[in-house]
Amino acid sequence: MSSVFATIVARDLRLAARRRVEALLPIAFFLVAVSLFPLGVGPEPQTLRQIAPGVVWVCALLAAMLSLTQLYGTDHADGSLEQMLLSGESLWLVSAAKALAHWIVTGAPLVLSAPLFGILFDLSAPANLTLALSLLLGTPILSLLGGLGAALTLGLRSGAVLLILIILPLCIPALIFGAGAVSAAEAGISTRGHFSLLGALLIGSGLLAPWATGAALRIATE
């Protein structure tokens, strides 16, 4: 039963490996976007330390969104999506598989490269660690919610921008708790509350988003 899940994840990872440059483009965007802020705001370390959590989180959000339009788009165009729908596997598992593959290709590298910016923005070590951990919990949420957006906007001309407009408001709670955790760590306050809320959001979206994505896929392919 779970072999369909594994098959889809394996295939998506293999496809990403064959197009390594394209797969890493969102990370490149992340790097460039984050670097723009000191140029726009000024290099004053105090300011940078203050804006770092928000800036890194927002850029991670946007970078994750960029690669989402093709999550279901190419499969829909070449007929693979229909075959997945006919596999008999629950759409919940199909959506979860696609979201996991997206996270491994886009989310995990974001998590790994974020501490680099912590250093560039002169975050303290605990804050930097908190940044990585908060993104570790937050990027899967983005992949899950983004999958829903991709399924809703499947095949539409204005797909990418529309997806961002629809999904960003839903990501705001994760942004607030994630960036808030890093600010708290920088100020020396306990981050337990932030992480429990972030964890709750992850569990909630992990259970519900694939279901909604499955429904959206069915609507889009009717």
Partner: protein, 251 residues
């Protein structure tokens, strides 16, 4: 039409069209009457607020608009979900008709919030929990309208919109909670639009009258928009062609 009135009697587009046609003039009349009454009470009868002076009177528009914006979102999500679950065409049409009105109320709430803020706090905008949540609600409305507009196939558009509206409705409490939490953390409890003046009875009366006026307005406008959607979607049916023919002959 048989004589019996059931829950679903007006669920058919032609009957709905007929009924709302009769109701709309009354709704407009009620809206105007209630607005006049509400504004009179709000501006002339209710006392001046001790701390905020005359400027507070903008809440007579701000609070009803904010309530309407949130309530209309839930109503829209409800009808969209009904339309999706039961394949009820009219319910989906009503949901689509509600969206622009809901967005308008949200925009009005933000705008009147700014007018409240300027004389009171000196700035046109304050990132307090309520106003920020209203802004995010505006994004949710815009997202819904953009999505249903982008999909050409009406059935797919209605269903996708319903899913998005329901997901949004489920998220509204989460978003509100997180924004409130974010706000208290960063700004402390002092700067807050939610600190409304203590309600004198006349103030409450004024606000209630304005709220009912907004309801009458919303019903009137939503009905009008739904009628337009009905005529557009059902243009191939006999009753619409018949009606258009009659109107053409009569006019």
């Amino acid at each position: 039409m048989n004589g019996r009135l059931t829950l679903f009697t007006f669920a058919s587009p032609p009957r709905f069209y007929w009924l709302t046609g009769k109701l709309i003039p009354w709704l407009w009349a009620a809206c105007i009457a209630l607005t006049v009454a509400g504004l009179y009470v709000g501006f002339f009868v209710a006392p001046t607020d001790a701390t905020q002076g005359e400027a507070y009177r903008v809440i007579y528009m701000h609070v009803p608009a904010a309530w309407m914006s949130m309530l209309l979102y839930l109503v829209m999500a409800f009808w969209a979900a009904i339309g999706w679950a039961f394949n009820a065409r009219l319910a989906s049409m009503v949901a689509r008709a509600i969206a622009p009105t809901g967005a308008m109320f949200t925009f009005l709430a933000l705008w009147t919030g700014a007018f409240w803020g300027k004389p009171t706090w000196g700035t046109w905008w304050v990132w307090d929990a309520r106003l920020t949540s209203e802004l995010i609600l505006l994004f949710l409305y815009l997202g819904y309208m953009a999505l249903v507009n982008a999909i050409d196939d009406t059935r797919r558009a209605d269903q996708a919109g319903a899913l998005l509206a329901v997901v949004g409705a489920v998220n509204v409490p989460i978003i509100y909670f997180s924004v409130k939490w974010w706000n208290t953390l960063h700004q402390g409890a002092t700067i807050s639009m939610t600190a409304a003046p203590k309600m004198a009875e006349t103030m409450l009366t004024g606000m209630l009258l304005m709220t009912f006026a907004c309801w009458a307005y919303a019903f009137a406008v939503v009905f009008m928009r739904t009628r337009a959607i009905i005529v557009e979607r059902e243009q191939h049916t006999e009753w619409v062609s018949e009606m258009v023919r009659k109107q053409g002959a009569g006019a």
